[in-house]
């Protein structure tokens, strides 16, 4: 399952991605491709992106993350961004980049619960 520098795990019907490394330009693109390819291959119902390992998210990375979620949605996969650090949230809001439309949760557990609730209602 793992190809690029960011491992993608499968938990039941959900793909779980833990981002540790900084998503600079080339890594970010590879990341997006890997995630979408994995969704295509597995037909996963949900996607959780855990960014608790990131202590800095600039507007570029924020856009890559938001876009990836939107692309997944086009493929019928709900995504949740989890584990954002307080200082990252404060910075994004100050920059005027509140990532509207992106589902968020505190941690992986909450993310899984959220996906379960959404998919139940589907």
């Amino acid at each position: 399952m793992t190809r690029g520098p960011i491992p993608i795990l499968r938990v039941g019907d959900t793909l779980l991605i833990t981002v540790h490394t900084d998503l600079h330009d080339t890594v970010a693109e590879a990341f997006q491709e890997d995630v979408l390819a994995a969704i295509e291959k597995t037909g996963a119902g949900g996607l959780i992106i855990d960014i608790s390992g990131l202590d800095m998210v600039d507007s570029y990375v924020a856009r890559v993350l938001a876009d990836t979620g939107r692309m997944a949605r086009l493929m019928g996969t709900r995504s949740v961004l989890v584990g954002m650090r307080p200082e990252v949230a404060a910075t994004l809001v100050r920059m005027g980049y509140p990532m509207e439309g992106v589902q968020t949760a505190l941690g992986v557990d909450d993310g899984l619960a959220l996906l379960a609730a959404v998919n139940r209602g589907k």
């Binding site: 949740v80 961004l81 989890v82 584990g83 954002m84 650090r85 307080p86 200082e87 990252v88 949230a89 404060a90 994004l92 809001v93 100050r94 509140p98 990532m99 509207e100 968020t104 949760a105 505190l106 941690g107 909450d110 993310g111």
Partner: protein
């Protein structure tokens, strides 16, 4: 004292404004023997004034203290005739001012004492010198006294600013209590005026607590905020957006009829927030978000 920023340039600039020239300083230095001759009676006369007023006398607890302060005063007085107005001189004057501020001696006593000083000097200068010399000497000493007075008042100001900064820090600390009302539910009662600085601090503190407590819902109660204008509303919207990024929801409670009217009239869009009037309703809503509810106990028969 460092905060007063009295470097060589500042001293130079002050001297220029007080028109305290090198000639003045030289004239003062030449008056040294005159000053020494009269220092005792002048200091005694000054303390006649200070000890004669019940409020200023209250600063002196004993005769020994009066004697000690008089000898310090004599040094201070002779300092006026040292012919110097440099860094060490200014520092010495600031130290004197700071000491007076510490014991709570208000500037009025200071200025009153200076006024007596000048009158005592005036009398003795005209008694000892020709009118022209006396006038020139008096002008020089009055310039330096004004220069000293400004320094003394600056130390008072600096001390007040210090106190104010400390109090503001204390108020800030007290002003953002984040309370855990239930497992994964936080309450932030906002009381008082919200300026940008405080709003930033509220947001930062709240975000940290949300992650610490893994809170799902945050109730922000603004019943204690007197005025909600566009800036305050903007801060609330930002805080809500940041809380959402973490994966929690914000519930805004305590919205009075007046505030509701203001928000709509200002055209602020706060539709992203859950808004309620009563805190109790906010708590119920928050509990609902974590899958709990408040129910009446079954009536006992």
């Amino acid at each position: 004292m460092a905060r007063l920023k009295l470097d060589a340039r500042e001293i130079e600039s002050r001297r220029a404004f007080f028109e305290l020239t090198d000639d003045d300083l030289a004239r003062l230095a030449s008056l040294r023997s005159f000053a020494e001759r009269h220092s005792k009676e002048i200091v005694d006369a000054l303390y006649e004034l200070i000890l004669g007023h019940p409020d200023s006398r209250a600063f002196f607890s004993s005769e020994a203290m009066v004697q000690r302060v008089k000898s310090l005063q004599r040094e201070y007085f002779l300092g006026l005739f040292a012919g110097r107005c440099d860094g060490p001189y200014v520092e010495d004057r600031l130290r004197v001012g700071a000491a007076h501020e510490r014991i709570g001696l208000a500037p009025k006593w200071y200025i009153g004492a200076y006024s007596r000083y000048l009158r005592l000097l005036l009398d003795r200068m005209f008694a000892d010198f020709t009118p022209a010399d006396a006038q020139a000497s008096y002008l020089s000493v009055s310039k330096l006294v004004a220069f000293d007075m400004a320094l003394a008042i600056d130390t008072y100001n600096a001390a007040y600013l210090d106190t104010m900064a400390r109090q503001q820090a204390a108020i800030r600390e007290l002003s953002t209590p984040v309370i855990r009302v239930y497992e994964r539910v936080l309450l932030l009662p906002v009381v008082g005026t919200v300026d940008s600085h405080r709003a930033e601090q509220i947001m930062e503190q709240l975000l940290v607590r949300v992650v610490e407590e893994q809170a799902r819902a945050v109730i922000v109660d603004i019943a204690g905020v007197p005025v909600v204008d566009t800036r305050v509303a903007d801060h609330l919207i930002k805080t809500t957006a940041a809380v959402r990024l973490l994966g929690a929801e914000t519930i805004l409670t305590g919205i009075s009829a007046h505030v509701a009217r203001t928000i709509i009239q200002l055209g602020v869009d706060i539709s992203a927030m859950h808004t309620l009037t009563r805190l109790a309703d906010g708590i119920e809503l928050a509990l609902g978000l974590i899958g709990r509810e408040i129910r009446a106990k079954a009536a006992t028969p």
